[in-house]
C-alpha cells in the first residue's frame, strides 16, 4: 500500500491532531474550561467514529511502520475511552486552573495520538518514538501545577527515571538492529524463528527492552517513581498515568514478546515470572501502610500490573485474553477510583484516608461508587475486576503455573485488607465536621459511565469475553 493510501488508516490520529491545534489557537480567546473540554471531547468522539476496521489481509502501512490488526483496534478503543473520561474528569477537577487549560487539552490529545501510534506500531523505531512522545507529554502533565513543589518534584523524579529506562531500552533496540540489520518487527520475527540468535545474547536483548517497558507499566524493579508521581501529580493526570501508559506498555510488551519473540519464550518466561511475583507482593505489602489515598492507589496499581503480568507469562491464547480483559476492567475501576478521589478532594481539600471517615453519611452516592470500585479492585464477584483475576489465574493453572496462581491468590487476599479499610472508614467511622460543596456535573457523568461499565462488564460478561477473544490475534 502506498504512502498516500496508508493515510486513510491514521484518520483518528489526524482528527485528534487537528482538534488539538484548534484548541491551542482557541484558547487564546476562550479560556472557559467547559467549552474547550467539550471541544476536546468531541474530537475524541469523532476520532473513535473513524477508527479503521481491521482487515482480512494485513495491510502494509507506511512501509510496514504500522499495522492494523484487531489487537491494535482493541487498544485504540480503550485509549480513546480513557482519554474521553480523563477530559470529563479534568473539567470537574478544581485544582486545574483555567489559565493553561488549552495547553492541557492540547497535550492530552497529543498523548492520545502517541498512544494510538504506539499500540499499532510494527517497527521498533516507531515504538520507541511513540513511547518517547507519550513519556515527554506525561512529564509535562505531571509538572502542570507548577507552583506546587510536590508536583515539580514528582515531574523531576519521573523524568530522571524515564530518561534512564528509555536509554536502557534504546541500547537494547540498537543491539537488535545490529543483530538483524532492521527494526521491522515482522523481519526480526522471521529471523528469530529461523533460530539465528544465540541464547545468552537474546536474553540480554530482552532484558534491556523489558527494562524500558517495565518503567511504563510500573513493574518492579522500575516501580519506584510511581508513588511519588501519583501523589504529586494533579489527580486527573494521575488517573491518566495509572491507566494510559500502562495499557500502552502492556500492548507493546504483548506485541514484541508474545508475538514476535515468542520463539524465545523459554528465555524470558522465568524472568518475567519473577517480575510478576515481586510486583504483586511489593505493591500489596507497601500499600497496607499508606495513609494517603493517592499513594495507596499507586501501590495498588503496581500490584494490579503484577496480576496482569501473570496472563502474559502464561503466554497462551487464554492468558493473553485474560490480560486484555484485565486491562479493560482495570481501566474502568482505576479511572473510577481516581474520579471519586477527585470528587471528594474537591470539597474535603485532602487526600488523607482518615478524612474519608463517615463519608457515607454526607455523600452516600460517591461512597457507594468508590466502594464498588474498591470491591472490583479486590476482585469480588460479580464485578469486572473478578473476571479479570479469574481469567488470568485460570490460564495460569491450566498451563501448570501453579506457583504464580497461588502467589496471585494470596496477594489478592492481602490486598483485600487495604481496600476494605477505606470502605470501613467511609461506612463505620464517625464523620468529621466538614461540609460537602457543589459537585461537578461532568465528573459525575464520567463516574456514572465508569460505574455502569464495571457493573455491566461484571454481570453480563459474555460479549466482553467474545470481544477479547476476537482481539487477541495479531497478524
Amino acid at each position: 500500500m502506498s504512502l498516500i493510501e496508508s493515510i486513510r488508516f491514521i484518520t483518528p490520529e489526524i482528527i485528534l491532531l487537528a482538534g488539538a491545534i484548534i484548541i491551542l489557537m482557541f484558547s487564546l480567546f476562550v479560556s472557559n474550561k467547559n467549552v474547550l473540554g467539550v471541544f476536546a471531547l468531541s474530537a475524541i468522539v469523532a476520532a473513535s467514529l473513524y477508527l479503521p476496521q481491521s482487515q482480512k489481509v494485513e495491510p502494509v502501512l507506511f512501509f510496514n511502520m504500522l499495522t492494523n490488526d484487531s489487537f491494535s483496534l482493541f487498544f485504540k478503543e480503550i485509549i480513546l475511552f480513557i482519554t474521553g473520561i480523563i477530559i470529563l474528569i479534568s473539567i470537574g477537577y478544581e485544582e486545574l486552573k483555567e489559565k493553561y487549560i488549552g495547553e492541557f487539552f492540547f497535550l492530552l490529545l497529543n498523548g492520545a495520538i502517541a498512544m494510538l501510534l504506539a499500540v499499532s506500531s510494527n517497527n521498533l523505531l516507531m515504538i520507541y518514538l511513540s513511547i518517547e512522545m507519550l513519556s515527554l507529554i506525561s512529564y509535562i502533565l505531571v509538572a502542570f501545577l507548577k507552583n506546587n513543589t510536590l508536583s515539580s518534584e514528582a515531574a523531576l523524579k519521573y523524568f530522571l527515571f524515564g530518561a534512564l529506562s528509555t536509554g536502557i531500552m534504546l541500547y537494547g533496540i540498537s543491539l537488535v538492529y545490529g543483530l538483524f540489520g532492521t527494526t521491522d518487527l515482522a523481519m526480526i520475527s522471521k529471523a528469530v524463528s529461523a533460530g539465528q540468535i544465540n541464547n545468552l545474547v537474546s536474553l540480554i536483548l530482552l532484558v534491556l527492552i523489558l527494562a524500558g517497558l517495565c518503567f511504563k507499566c510500573s513493574l518492579v524493579p522500575f516501580h519506584m517513581w510511581a508513588p511519588d508521581v501519583y501523589q504529586g501529580a494533579p489527580t486527573a493526570v494521575t488517573a491518566f498515568l495509572s491507566v494510559g501508559p500502562k495499557a500502552v506498555g502492556f500492548a507493546v510488551l504483548l506485541r514484541i514478546f508474545s508475538n514476535n519473540f515468542f520463539h524465545l519464550y523459554i528465555n524470558w518466561v522465568t524472568l518475567v515470572m519473577l517480575i510478576s511475583i515481586f510486583t504483586m507482593t511489593i505493591g500489596n505489602v507497601i500499600a497496607i501502610s499508606q495513609t494517603n489515598i493517592k499513594r495507596m492507589l499507586a501501590y495498588s496499581s503496581i500490584a494490579q500490573a503484577g496480576y496482569m503480568l501473570i496472563g502474559f507469562v502464561v503466554g497462551t491464547a487464554g492468558g493473553i485474553e485474560g490480560v486484555l480483559y484485565y486491562i479493560f476492567a482495570y481501566t474502568l475501576m482505576n479511572l473510577g477510583a481516581f474520579g471519586c478521589v477527585i470528587l471528594v478532594s474537591n470539597y474535603l481539600k485532602s487526600d488523607a484516608i482518615e478524612d474519608y471517615a463517615g463519608l457515607y453519611k454526607k455523600d452516600p452516592v460517591t461512597s457507594f461508587m468508590l466502594s464498588i470500585f474498591l470491591l472490583s479492585l479486590t476482585g469480588v464477584p460479580p464485578l469486572a475486576g473478578f473476571w479479570g483475576k479469574f481469567l488470568v489465574f485460570n490460564a495460569a493453572i491450566q498451563s501448570k503455573f501453579i506457583l504464580l496462581a497461588v502467589v496471585g491468590v494470596i496477594n489478592s487476599i492481602v490486598a483485600a485488607y487495604y481496600y476494605m479499610r477505606i470502605i470501613k472508614f467511609m461506612y463505620l467511622e464517625e464523620p468529621k465536621a466538614k461540609e460537602i460543596g457543589p459537585k461537578s456535573v461532568p465528573l459525575q457523568i464520567a463516574l456514572a459511565i465508569v460505574t455502569a461499565g464495571v457493573l455491566i462488564a461484571g454481570l453480563y460478561v459474555t460479549p466482553f469475553l467474545n470481544w477479547v477473544k476476537y482481539s487477541q490475534s495479531f497478524f
Binding site: F106, N110, L125, M133, L136, I140, K146, G178, G181, I204
Partner: protein, 181 residues
C-alpha cells in the same frame, strides 16, 4: 590527510598503522575526558569536558565512514546541547558554587555497577561476530539517498518527530513561563 599518508608511506610506514594509531589516540582521549566529566567537581567544567567527549565520538563516526552522522553529531551535540548546558549552568544561580562530590561509597558502588554492565555488554558484543548493518559496511550513503528514505520508508517516524517537538515546545512554554504575581 592524504598528503600526510603519502609522506608516511614514502618513509615505509603503512597506512593501516596510521589509521589504527589515530583511532586509538582519539579513543583514549575520549575515554580520558569522559572520566573527567564524571569526576569533575565543577559542573561547568564537566560541561566543557563533555564537549570534548562528544567531538571525540564524532571522530569515531568518521572512522566508521559515517561522515554525515559525524557532522550532525558536532552540530547538534557540541553546537547545541553542550551550549545549552553551559547556558543553563550560567543562568541558574549558585549551581556552580557548590561542588558535586559523591561520597567514596556511592562512587565505588556506581563504579562496580557500571563495570559489571560494561563487561556483560562487552561479552555479548564479542560473542556475536556477524553484526549487520542495513547497507553493507564500508559503503558510503549519499545525502540524497538519506533524504529519499526520510520521504519514503521513514516518512511516518519523521512526521512523528515533528509532533514530538511541537508537544515539547508547548510543554516548555507552559512550565517555563513566569507567573505574574
Amino acid at each position: 590527510m592524504s598528503g600526510l599518508i603519502q609522506l608516511l608511506n614514502s618513509h615505509g610506514i603503512p597506512q593501516d598503522f596510521v589509521i589504527k594509531a589515530a583511532f586509538y589516540f582519539i579513543a583514549a582521549l575520549t575515554l580520558l575526558f569522559a572520566l573527567f566529566v564524571v569526576l569533575s567537581r565543577h559542573i561547568f567544567r564537566a560541561a566543557v569536558y563533555l564537549a570534548v567527549v562528544l567531538t571525540g565520538i564524532a571522530a569515531v563516526y568518521l572512522f566508521l565512514d559515517a561522515e554525515f552522522l559525524a557532522v550532525v553529531q558536532v552540530l547538534i551535540y557540541v553546537g547545541a546541547i553542550v551550549v545549552l548546558f553551559i547556558f543553563t549552568v550560567m543562568l541558574t544561580a549558585d549551581i556552580d558554587s557548590g561542588t558535586f562530590v559523591g561520597t567514596l561509597r556511592r562512587m565505588s558502588v556506581a563504579a562496580v555497577a557500571s563495570l559489571a554492565i560494561f563487561f556483560i555488554l562487552f561479552k555479548v558484543i564479542n560473542m556475536v561476530t556477524a553484526w549487520k548493518t542495513a547497507v553493507p559496511a564500508g559503503a558510503s550513503i549519499s545525502l540524497s539517498q538519506l533524504g529519499k528514505s526520510l520521504m519514503t520508508g521513514y516518512a511516518l517516524p519523521f512526521e512523528v518527530i515533528s509532533l514530538i517537538s511541537l508537544a515539547a515546545l508547548v510543554g516548555a512554554l507552559v512550565i517555563g513561563k513566569a507567573e505574574k504575581r
